[in-house]
Amino acid sequence: MPEETDESPSVGPECSTESGNGKFPDTRWSLIVSARAENSVIVSRALQELCQLYWMPVYCYIRRRGSSPEDAEDLTQGFFAQFLQRQDFSTVKSEKGKLRSYLLKSVSHYLADQFDKRNALKRGGGQVVLSIDQASAEEGYQSQLEPRDDASPDLLFEKRWAVTLLGNVLNDLRENYDKQRKGLLFETLQPYLSGTAGESPLAEAAATLGMAERAVRVALFRLRRRYGEALRAAILETVVDPAEVDDELNYLFTVIRQ
């Protein structure tokens, strides 16, 4: 097992390499809502990427509001079709909106609209703007996040949001470790990172990896820090102001604890 030294996997979503002149990169969401977005192709792509990352909470929300799985998939596609076509995010900028709350507000308005139009389901049906796997969507919806299954649609959305975000970051990190040929290290330490290792001592991991226990502890420490940084970077992608990262993190904590 190679000792973990330099060349750490770089973490965090790959974003906005367009501004790779050493200047602090715009985050996707701030890019979308900022008036500086001269290049609409970049904006559309950023928006599309964000939607692909976060469709699951939207789907769960629509399901909880009472739609069947088929209707929910149609409505999710219909909603994102409308959302992606939209060019004007100026109101978000003035409200310092986070992507999470903006998306929730938008989907709730969208459903109210659909409710008014009644027949709009047919109109929304058939549009495919995102790749949504129906089976995993239902699995995501059905898997209980809590003993109570009476969470309000809003709460369900926010819980799903948090879990989707955390899962995405974990997957990114896994890929990065894989690229560095440190897949075994990641898989062995991942339960300690994720809080699922229970009481199993770190010595077991050390034995599996053939490393000294202290070296494993340092590796775990680094893994945790990288996860934390990647998480902050991913959250940064969904807010306008970097100063909001801490607030968003704390907010997601309160959501998860409810």
Partner: protein, 649 residues
């Protein structure tokens, strides 16, 4: 791992709480209890790494490393040892630069700066041996309660002295934040920690050695205190980044909150603060370095002057500041809970078909026009279009929507309509009272009709809008975030909807009550003998009335989202719950009507002035007309005023 439910972790393959915590650790803001396996170095290993030290205990940990308290045996002194894992210790260039730059820091000696005794590399770790300060840091101090004027006058000049001294030596701290400002327990002396270490450990400057340590190219960490040019990774940073951060710290010290987004001036958030302080803090926080102060000593001079110039009764730009006099007297009228402000008037029994069961209060139905007042220095407030020129009896408002009861007994809604909460059911008439859910996520409405029936609409996710079929003879209504409450003519209480934590489970031994109200996750009522009884989520601190109230007879209660207010027969208004001024009695000279919404409590004083206090303790007089009914939406207070025309049905 954590206290989260295990089922979730099993279903997902990870524990959300644990993963989220790594994000907080990465900001190096948490120095909480550490688990054995989360430490890169245990105390035992410290002893092996540092044979010259007697390691005593762990002082704290952050995303970057750990700090231990130790005794330096040879010199018999206490030291703090900060240990950071590095990934570049085998790089000779890194080591050389580290040694050169740390040596400069070790020469920085000042009474208000934590002295760096020694530094170096051991194995894969960098370490810093520092002076040990026995005390708390400023963020811990602020968490314990608001900073008094005297404290601020003691702490701030010392911070300025330290910065002035180091800046003269050409050393920039780069990571000034409350957690780095230590206050000695016994002497009160302020010492700034981690001077210049941000260069090696912090996220501030990716062009420095830091990138070698974290390999992340983003300005992560604690961006709240970072100057814009620091956030942008400007190639040349100077001492003015520290002055910007100091501005943020000052704002937080005085107002209890860090400024974010388009924040309000400090004087709008802290009573008795002179407006000159706004100028001092805003100048320190100027986005362009050239427009900031040039030196910390200037901030010291102007801060001290502004702080001492505080004036107890100053005129703010937009509003008259208000100070309540302590002079108990009796309440003239009583009134009610958010969303269900019924006017109960014993002097003027009203004819008509209001509920008239035995013991039920009669209900007057005065109408007036709606005015909107901006609260706490917000810019503007507008009356909803559909209420202009209307005679209104009662308002019930939430963050993004509201309903109004008009003089003709009909109801109108406006604002957000995602749950059809602003769409009043067709044919609704003969209403005497209305209520809307209390809480940021609330989206349901209630109306009480003249025949004692309750009509509900809007969000029904928890069946909060499904009124029990056998409910009748209702005289008062109230609504929490996801539950609804009714007081019946016989003094009994019914609640339905969300019932987690028993918020909708009425205590069996409740007895007769005379008023009900509801907050986000709690329900409260007033017993016949004037006692406040509340139940629901224990985390709602509003549930436990201050014990001092046991000796009082209350006449009115009103609930905000997470606080409760009660007025006593002696004329005192008590506010408690999730507010900084927990359980502090606020004495009023006879309050007319008590009202609470979101984080605001409002009442009308005997002169007819509409007074408002928020849960941070900020006072404001917003109007001089007697209000019949009130509602809060965001930073706007709506009030029904006038009342010259009485509509009686």
């Amino acid at each position: 791992m954590c206290d989260g439910p295990l089922g979730i972790a099993a279903a997902l393959g990870f524990c959300p709480g644990c993963l989220l915590r790594h994000g907080q650790d990465a900001a190096e803001t948490i120095a909480g209890p550490a688990r054995f396996d989360t430490l890169p170095v245990t105390a035992d290993e410290m002893t092996l790494l540092f044979p010259e030290l007697e390691v005593i205990r762990l002082l704290g940990r952050g995303g970057m490393g750990v700090v231990y308290l130790a005794r330096q045996v040879a010199l018999d002194r206490m030291v703090a040892v900060k240990v950071l894992p590095t990934e570049s210790s085998d790089d000779p260039q890194f080591s050389e630069r580290f040694r050169r730059e740390a040596a400069v820091l070790a020469r920085l000696k000042h009474p208000n700066i934590v002295t760096l005794y020694d530094f170096g590399e051991r194995g894969e770790f960098l370490y810093f041996l520092m002076e040990f300060v026995d005390g708390v840091d400023l963020s811990q101090r602020m968490a314990a309660g608001s900073i008094t004027t005297d404290e601020a006058l003691s702490i701030v000049p010392q911070i300025c002295d330290a910065l002035e001294f180091s800046h003269r030596q050409g050393i920039v701290h780069r990571d000034i934040k409350p957690a780095n400002i230590l206050i000695d327990r016994s002497s009160g002396q302020v010492k700034i920690a981690d001077f210049g270490l941000a260069k090696f450990t912090g996220p501030a400057d990716p062009s420095s050695l830091e990138t070698r340590l974290t390999m992340t190219n983003m300005a992560l960490g604690t961006p709240r205190y970072m100057a814009p040019e620091q956030m942008d990774n400007a190639p040349t940073l100077d001492h003015r980044v520290d002055l910007y951060a100091l501005g943020v710290v000052l704002y937080e010290m005085l107002t209890g909150e860090a400024p974010a987004g388009s924040f309000e001036p400090p004087s709008a958030k802290r009573a008795k603060l002179d407006e000159r302080m706004d100028d001092v803090i805003l100048k320190a926080m100027e986005p362009t370095p050239e427009r900031r102060y040039g030196q910390a000593s200037e901030i010291k001079t102007e801060f001290t002057a502004a702080m001492q110039a505080r004036n107890l009764l100053t005129l703010s730009r937009r509003h008259r500041a208000f100070l309540l006099r302590v002079a108990p007297a009796s309440l003239i009228a009583i009134a009610l809970s958010v969303g269900a402000v019924l006017w109960i008037n014993r002097e003027k029994p009203v004819s008509g078909n209001a509920p008239r069961a035995a013991g039920a209060p009669s209900i007057t139905r005065e109408a007036g026009t709606v005015l909107a007042f901006p609260l706490f220095a917000s810019q503007e407030a507008q009356v909803p279009e559909i209420l202009r020129d209307e005679k209104v009896i009662q308002l019930a408002t939430a963050e993004s929507f509201g309903i109004a009861l008009l003089a003709d007994g009909t109801v109108r809604g406006w604002g957000a309509n995602d749950y059809q909460q602003a769409t009043v059911p067709d044919g609704l008439q003969n209403c005497v009272a209305i209520a809307v859910g209390n809480g940021a996520k609330a989206a349901h409405c209630l109306a009480l009709t003249t025949d004692g029936k309750v009509i509900a609409w809007g969000d029904d996710s928890y069946r909060q809008a499904s009124v029990p079929e056998d409910l009748r003879d209702v005289v008062q209504i109230a609504a929490g975030q996801f539950h609804s409450v009714a007081l019946c003519a016989d003094g009994s209480v019914r609640a339905w909807g969300y019932d987690v934590d028993g918020v909708s489970t009425v205590p069996p031994d409740l007895g007769k009550v005379k008023a009900v109200t509801a907050g986000e996750y709690f329900t409260a009522c007033l017993s016949e003998d004037g006692q406040v009884i509340a139940w629901g989520a224990e985390r709602a601190a509003a549930c436990a009335p201050p014990s001092i109230l046991l000796a009082e007879t209350c006449t009115t209660i009103a609930a905000g989202a997470s606080h409760l207010a009660a007025a006593t027969s002696a004329g005192e208004v008590f506010i408690w719950g999730e507010c900084r001024r927990q359980r502090l009695p606020i004495s009023a000279e006879r309050a007319y009507a008590l009202f609470a919404g979101a984080n605001v409590t409002a009442f009308v004083d005997p002169d007819g002035n509409l007074q408002v206090i928020d849960t941070n303790g900020n006072f404001e007089t917003v109007g001089d007309q007697r209000a019949l009914s009130m509602g809060v939406s965001g930073r706007t207070l709506f009030a029904v005023v006038g009342g010259s025309e009485t509509s009686r049905r």
